[in-house]
């Protein structure tokens, strides 16, 4: 689209067609009525006409207003600014006319003239945006005047006996049969009580068709009634040679209850307040009907029996299936423990309380590890606050992965944090996953506790979880600070799933016997019939433990694997006896009762790591046959499932 930048906003010639106003109607209803043109007009160009039949004919009973010296001065100045040749402005401009021809009946005159300023509403379509100018302002004011005078409805209808409201089309001809309203009853008129104004229910009306009756007797205009409130805007736009009024004043003496009826032709084109009220009432009735519950809406949906039933069933199914979307965290795993927050127990939304005892049920999946774990806590416990129970697990083992088990296995651990002086601040569940070879791993955790779980998984940020070193935030935004004596952390539980191999090798048990016990002679050295066994720790061997994975207090059993060279089978035996003394755990298992063969292990946690001793007591026949080899020792942690 081309933008015309030389749009002239002022016509100094008085002959530019774009500045011509053609047949603007004005209603004349009084003697010497001044018509304000609202803008400067060339005096010589003013032509006034009236309608005669279907054509306009000249009308001369008018005088032109005084010259608009301000506008003339502006035009003269504008002429001096024309380049290259200035224009000398000599014409006369006026703002108004005075029509003098009114006698007893109203009529309409049509005024045509050349305007000084451009009328923006007449601009050609391909011009983009006028500059601010007096012409633009005049146009805007005309538009506002039209909106104010033509479009607004009558402010209010008080009649109670309006039987029906019709939304009528705007009729500027004054001839529409659709707008002809017959015998509209107005019972509120009571001139004795100063209630004498009638406002027709359908708004403005043409005067020519108005018939007012009192008790079916037609009243005479200006005797029984008169019309008031001429609507100038509507009168101006009508093509009918008639005036449009808004009100009827009853002059006759009308007592309360007398029926005043009016027959009229409405101007229409607007929605009356009564119509709006009726529409509102109708909508209200529909809404009430809907609210009875027979229909489903957004508001009634949650209360509908069918929806309640479906929601109950969904809750039941969710609880039975323990459905909850798993969350995947990115975790930086190494041989050293790194604690991160993964879930919390927030205060109850209603009571603000936190249960001091609770159960969590989680599914954990990462690398070659999957386990379903229950974590039980009891903040009031004087012993261990946290305990775990592995429902099922699948994890890497020596049997499946051979030596790579040592470098690829993961060992998840959990603990909880809370403030003992404000338990209702909530709990934080922390996780650490150790791995002999450092690697960023994805850990997927699913809260498997169902809809009634008090644990809430923390959202995954997609980046590596930040380790908690000394402080963290509890669910109610209070601070947990390890330096505070009231900020507590629970014991750590290990959820390594299946056996955690700590020894792999092949040592014949008869090699271990002399490290496990010796026979000493007591009493008479010549009598060797009563030797006594003196116990020793065993043979020190290497332990295959990543970082500080093994918490001595969490060891539940040792599993010994002994190879029977005669039967050709591997004997896997969970320890019969296990004792924990501080940082040392001792366990033994009788694996071949017939020949009194047992194997044992002692594991001690030290500052620098772990020390492991293995021992055996082997029966006579098995010794001479060198029948058994110790091949492997696994650890089972508390809460773990039985070793498979």
């Amino acid at each position: 689209m081309l933008i015309k930048t030389d749009l002239s906003m002022m016509d100094l010639t008085g002959s530019n067609e774009a500045f011509k106003r053609i047949a603007i109607p004005f209603r004349i209803y009084k003697t010497s009525q001044v018509i304000s043109l609202g803008e400067p007009a060339y005096t010589d160009s003013v032509v006034v006409e009236i309608m005669s039949g279907d054509t306009l004919v000249s009308y001369t009973s008018f005088t032109k207003g005084v010259a608009d010296e301000t506008a003339i001065a502006r035009a003269k100045y504008a002429g001096t600014q024309v380049t290259p040749t200035p224009v000398e402005f000599t014409a006369t401009l006026i703002n108004s006319l005075t029509v003098t021809g009114y006698t007893s009946s109203e009529f309409t005159v049509y005024v045509t003239y050349q305007a000084l300023y451009h009328d923006t509403v007449n601009m050609v379509d391909d011009i983009v945006g006028p500059s601010y100018s007096p012409g633009l302002m005049s146009s805007v004011l005309n538009q506002l005047s039209y909106l104010n005078n033509i479009l607004p409805p009558i402010p209010d209808i008080t009649s109670d006996d309006i039987n029906s409201i019709q939304v009528l089309a705007e009729d500027i001809t004054g001839e529409s049969n659709d707008n002809y309203i017959q015998d509209e009853i107005h019972l509120q008129v009571n001139t004795l009580a100063n209630r004498f104004v009638v406002r027709p229910a359908n708004g403005s009306f043409y005067k020519k068709d108005l018939v007012v009756k009192l008790n079916d007797v037609t009243l005479v205009e200006n005797v029984g009634y008169k019309v008031v409130g001429i609507n100038l805007g509507k009168t101006r736009v009508t093509t009918s040679n008639d005036s449009v009024y808004d009100y009827i004043v009853i002059l006759a003496e009308v007592a309360s209850g007398a029926a005043v009826s009016i027959t009229y032709r409405a101007f229409g084109g607007m929605v009356c307040p009564a119509a709006m009220n009726q529409t509102r009432t109708l909508l209200k009735n529909i809404i009430e009907y809907i609210k009875l519950g027979n229909f489903i809406t957004v508001d009634t949906l949650k209360d509908h029996p069918l929806i309640i039933y479906i929601l109950d069933r969904l809750n039941l199914i969710e609880n039975m299936l323990n459905i909850s979307a798993p969350i995947t965290y990115l975790y930086s795993s190494s041989a050293v423990d790194s604690w991160v927050n993964i879930a919390h127990v927030a205060p109850d939304g209603i009571t603000g309380l936190v249960d001091s005892k609770g159960v969590g049920h989680f599914r954990v999946r990462t690398e070659k590890y999957f386990a379903e774990i229950k974590l039980n806590y009891d903040l009031t416990s004087t012993g261990k606050v946290l305990s775990s129970h592995t429902v099922s697990s699948w994890a890497t083992t020596i049997d499946q992965d051979k030596i790579s088990h040592i470098s690829t296995r993961v060992c998840p651990k959990f603990r909880i944090l809370w403030n003992s002086d404000s338990v209702n601040s909530g709990l934080v569940l922390q996780m650490s996953v150790t791995r002999s070879v450092a690697k960023d791993i994805y850990v997927e955790i699913q809260n498997y506790g169902g809809a009634f779980s008090t644990w809430t998984m923390l959202p995954s940020t997609g980046v590596v979880l930040t380790p908690v070193t000394t402080t963290t935030t509890l669910p109610d935004d209070s601070v947990w600070n390890s330096a505070e004596s009231t900020s507590l952390q629970s014991n750590v539980v290990v959820a390594s799933g299946k056996g955690y191999a700590i020894f792999v090798g092949n040592i014949p048990t008869h090699l271990l016997d002399p490290h496990t016990y010796t026979y000493d002679i007591t009493g008479d050295p010549e009598d060797n019939t009563t030797p006594i066994m003196t116990k020793h720790t065993g043979l020190p061997v290497a332990s295959l433990i990543t970082g500080s994975d093994v918490l001595i207090g969490e060891v539940d059993a040792l599993v010994f694997k002994v190879y029977d060279r005669y039967a050709g089978t591997m004997i896997s035996k969970v320890s019969d006896n296990l004792s924990i003394d501080g940082d040392t755990v001792k366990a033994s298992a009788m694996y071949f009762d017939q020949d009194m063969c047992s194997v044992e292990g002692t594991l001690t946690k030290t500052e620098g790591g772990y020390n492991l001793w293995v021992g055996a007591t082997t029966g006579t026949h098995s010794v001479v046959n060198e029948r058994f080899d110790l091949r492997q020792i696994d650890i089972l942690f508390k809460g773990a499932i039985n070793h498979a």
Partner: protein
């Protein structure tokens, strides 16, 4: 790094072909291998090798777990662990148990410990 430690008879001459008596897997970052000493005498010498030094007669690298389960198939020869020529059957499998041990043997007290018979 994980390594294989093998124990051979302490009385044997280093460098000669030697049977493997026992073996362990260990992490050299956390464990220092040591000989087995009894009564002040080194009964078994420990030699450690990386996994890729465990080979069969054809020079193929053998899974260390396979070696642990069949240590008598292998020998320690001049610093190398390898399978001997001949049968690869586990010759440590006991076909017949020696049931001839008299009950009085246990009370003979001629040895300090059965384990070193």
């Amino acid at each position: 790094m994980l390594k294989l430690g093998i124990y051979v008879d302490g009385l044997s001459v280093p460098g000669n072909t030697t049977d493997i008596r026992a073996a362990i897997i260990y992490d050299d970052a956390t464990y220092t291998p040591a000989n087995i000493i009894m009564d002040g005498i080194t009964r078994y010498n420990l030699y450690s090798r990386a996994f890729n030094y465990i080979k069969d007669v054809d020079g193929n690298i053998i899974d260390p777990m396979y070696l642990l389960n069949n240590i008598d198939k292998y020998q320690y020869v001049v610093g190398e662990i390898s399978a001997p020529t001949g049968s690869l059957d586990d010759n440590r499998k006991l076909d017949v148990l020696d049931e001839t041990i008299p009950l009085t043997f246990m009370r003979a007290n001629t040895v300090n410990n059965f384990g070193i018979l």
